[in-house]
Amino acid sequence: MNNPKSEIARRFLAGLPLDHIPVIDFHTHMGRSSEYYYIPFNTADCVTAYLNSFGIDHIVTFCINVTTDVAPKNKFVYDLHKNNPERLSPLTAIHAGFPQDWISILDQGYQAGSRGIKILHQYQGVEEDVDFSSALDYARDKNWVALAHNWGTPDRLEHWARNFPTVYFIIGHAATMYKHLVDKYDNVYQCTCASFVEGYFSPIKDMVNCMPVEKIIHGSDALDLDIATSIGPIAFADISEEAREKILGRNAIQLAKRLQRPLPLLRNY
């Protein structure tokens, strides 16, 4: 059998933490329960141990299941952040069906240390043409990101990216359909989340081949998806070790620096 040449792949196969490089997870959910499932081992201690097992320095996180009231779900995430700001940065989820709530919800997030907005309107029973302008306007002077499960058509994402140049837009799931926007706009980044589901999301190599690797950041969807499903496809991808390291952490660190809000790391790398 082939022995991996990649140190990242070697460690992944052995179940060892990737503590030789910075690892940031930019797409995670925290919560106790969703309509789909009960969430095992959801407490702060369990989550920290889980992150440590993979050698993840820091996660950007938001609540799970935003089909009902988002405020109490957001609070669960803010409390985790308050108790462990070194490991978790929160984003604030909004419900696309209730735009009248957005500013107060975002204000609560800002007070709680939020780093941005989480959009998930495909799960919220609304049409694709939701106007997020007021929420993005709130974000424009705060060094925030806006991460969407799915931004809809490239035209829609381009509209937001062009009109809100100080908001950093994260394409939440692995895709190549926005590649020209990732290339063209400084404030558009591509997340790798769910790349392992290849019939629906783009493989890692496809993304690396068609957009600047510096704009690709790692995301797992934990505690929905297991973190292994995000690291494994990067570890085994037919790309350089340098590209793997950039995707797994270094690119997110650079993004946080651009936002003037550096992410705490577990050690000096």
Binding site: M1, Y37, P203, G232
Partner: protein, 260 residues
Amino acid sequence: MNKNSIPPLDYIDAFLPVGRINRAAVQSPQDFSDALKIMDQYHVSEALIYSTLALNDPHLNNEVVCTFDSPRVHKIWAFDPAYVIKESPEQFLERALKNSAKAIMANPLMRDWRVDRSVRLLELAKQLEKRKIPLLLAHRAWDSGQDVIDWYRMIDFCNQFPTLPVITWEWRSRANRPLFDALSQADNLKLILSSIWQSQMVRQLSEAFGAKRLIFSLGLPFLNPGSFHGLVNYAAISQSDKQAIASGNIRRILSEARYE
């Protein structure tokens, strides 16, 4: 023991496909030589192997897998439950065993027959149980894949054949509440690991129901084959439980089956 000195796990893929299929992963094997290469590339020592044809044409699967020949590969034969087929389930099983089949699979979504009401499947299950030959229930319709197993029906089926190893697969078992119920009420029910995508479920299922319930697969034809080793080897469970999931469980099932 220093974690760096722990030997790598030995992996068996209990459900490795060969052939084309809708929405396949880039690396999914198109032919048998591809399958052997994938096994090497992803550190899989042995595999139970089927043709993607099995999901909609069992007879063709059985012709195709007869051409696969390697000591690292064990053949899965596929069963058609159509009532009007003249060959009895007993005759089918004899023919499968003569052709070195090590497991029998059926697809309940081919389409909408019920494992607990199909006359032919119930008869086959009786024959399989006598020999403890594993039954793989692979649930796949071309236009659906998530949460398509009726776990409460699965409880009833498993309880009719309590010593038959029943292994289920679907693209994604996302709804875990009915899954927990099924595992709690059917001791002979086992899951192909690649159906379980949720964080820390390997630990949860192992703690609640025992690691013997989980059986490794790379996740092909639909999922990136580099994804699922990590669900096992990063799980907060014992090293012996990890090895059981990676290959021990399926090895034991195969060793307990009576194929003669």
